[in-house]
Symmetry: none
Subunit: 226 residues, 2 copies
C-alpha cells in the first residue's frame, strides 16, 4: 500500500477534504477562490500556500496555471484516493459515529459556522450519512414545502455545510433569517428554489438582490420518527 511522505496539519487535512467534497458533490474541482470561500480564506494566496503544501507532501497534483485542475492523490489519513473505479473495499473500516447537533434556528447574517440553539444531539453512523461527512448538522423541518419529496413536518434533515451545491439537489437555504428546504436550480444569474409541493410557488433569488440569502448546504439525509 502506497503512502504519502509526510503527515498533514489539521488545517491542510481540512483543505484536502473540502476539495474532495467539492469534487464528489459538484462534479469538478473548485477554483482557488471557491476554495477560499469554502474555507473562509479571503486571500487567494492563503489558499495557494495550502495547495503548495499539499503538492509538496504528495497529497495533490495540479497543472500549472490551469483552472480547476487539482486532483487529490491521498486522503488526509493516507488512504489512496480513488475516483472512477470504486471497488468493494475489502478492508474493514471502523465506522465513525457522528454526534450531530440539532438546531432550531439559524441566526440571520451569521457565517454558516455560527449556529444558535442546539436543541439536542443525535448520534448517527457514517454508514447512513455517506463518505467523509464532517460538517453535518441537523434541523427539524417546519412546514410542508417538500412533502412531495417525502420530507414532512417534524422530520430531521441532515445538512452538510457547503456553499457550492450541484444543480437540482435538495438544499437548506437561509432567507431573511429563516431556514428552509428547497430544491436548487441555477438559472443564469438567479437561483430558483423549488418547493416539492404543488400548492407552493418557487422562490427566485437574484445574484444582485439585497435579500439576505445564503445556501447552507445539501441535504444528505432525512429521518422521521414514527
Amino acid at each position: 500500500m502506497m503512502k504519502p511522505e509526510a503527515k498533514l496539519t489539521k488545517r491542510q487535512g481540512t483543505v484536502l477534504e473540502v476539495i474532495a467534497q467539492h469534487i464528489e458533490e459538484v462534479g469538478y474541482p473548485p477554483t482557488i477562490r471557491e476554495l477560499g470561500d469554502a474555507l473562509g480564506i479571503r486571500s487567494t494566496n492563503g489558499v495557494n500556500d495550502h495547495l503548495k503544501a499539499l503538492e509538496k507532501k504528495g497529497y495533490l497534483t495540479r497543472e500549472d496555471a490551469k483552472s480547476r485542475t487539482m486532483r487529490p492523490i491521498f486522503w488526509p489519513d493516507g488512504t489512496p484516493y480513488e475516483q472512477g473505479a470504486n471497488s468493494d473495499s475489502t478492508e474493514d473500516y471502523d465506522e465513525e459515529i457522528h454526534q450531530v447537533r440539532v438546531v432550531g434556528r439559524i441566526a440571520a447574517g451569521m457565517p454558516v459556522t455560527a449556529i444558535e440553539q442546539t436543541e439536542e444531539i443525535v448520534a448517527i453512523g457514517q454508514g447512513l450519512l455517506g463518505r467523509q461527512q464532517k460538517d453535518v448538522f441537523a434541523l427539524r423541518v417546519k412546514g410542508e414545502s417538500m412533502i412531495e419529496d417525502g420530507i414532512f413536518d417534524g422530520d430531521y434533515i441532515f445538512v452538510r455545510k457547503q456553499a457550492d451545491v450541484r444543480d437540482g439537489k435538495i438544499v437548506a437555504v437561509m432567507i431573511d433569517g429563516e431556514a428552509t428546504v428547497k430544491r436548487l436550480f441555477r438559472e443564469g444569474n438567479r437561483v430558483r428554489l423549488e418547493p416539492a409541493n404543488a400548492a407552493m410557488e418557487p422562490i427566485f433569488v437574484h445574484a444582485d438582490e439585497a435579500r439576505e440569502t445564503m445556501i447552507i448546504g445539501p441535504v444528505v439525509g432525512v429521518y422521521r420518527r414514527l
Copy 2:
C-alpha cells in the same frame, strides 16, 4: 427511468463522448478550447454551439461563465450518466448507540427472530429511535406502496419486533414470505393492510385464513439518504 427529450446528432454525440472521456481520463472537465482541440474545431464558438445544443436537449449542464463546469447528464444513447458512489462500512462500538442489522429479506415461515442475510450494519443513536428500543432491525424498502406517507423505494425503515401494534400504525408485515410495509387497521375478525398509494388496493387478512401472515412490528423510524 428518466430520458432526455430529444435525440442527438452524430456530431453532438461525439462532443458529449469527448467530454465524458476527458472527465474520466483527466479527472476534471475540459475547457471550451481544450474541447475544440480535441474535436478539431478552431473557433470557441463552434464548440459553444454544440454545448448549447447539448444543454438545450438536456444532456449537459453548465454554470454560467465558469470554466470547466460542464457535467454530462445522459450518455449519447440516453443512458443516465453516473459519477458519484457510495461506500458503507461496519464495525463495533458501544454506548447508547445501536448497531442495527439491515436485512434484505425475511425467510418465509420462520419465527420473527430468525432473520437472514444481514446486508450491512448501520449505527443510529437512541435519541432517534425512541425509548427502550431493543429488538430493532432495519429493512430497505422495496416498492412504492407507501409513497404518500413519505416512505420511498430504497429508504431504510427501522422496525421493532413486537407482535402487538396499535391501530393505524405503520407496520412491517410478512405475507407469504414477503416483507412489506403497510398501515394496519383491525376490523372485527380481520385485519386491513392499507398502502399509502392511491394506485394500490388494501390487503385484507382474516383471522381464520390459511395465509402465512405475521406482524413483525411497528415501524419506528425512516431514513433516506440523499
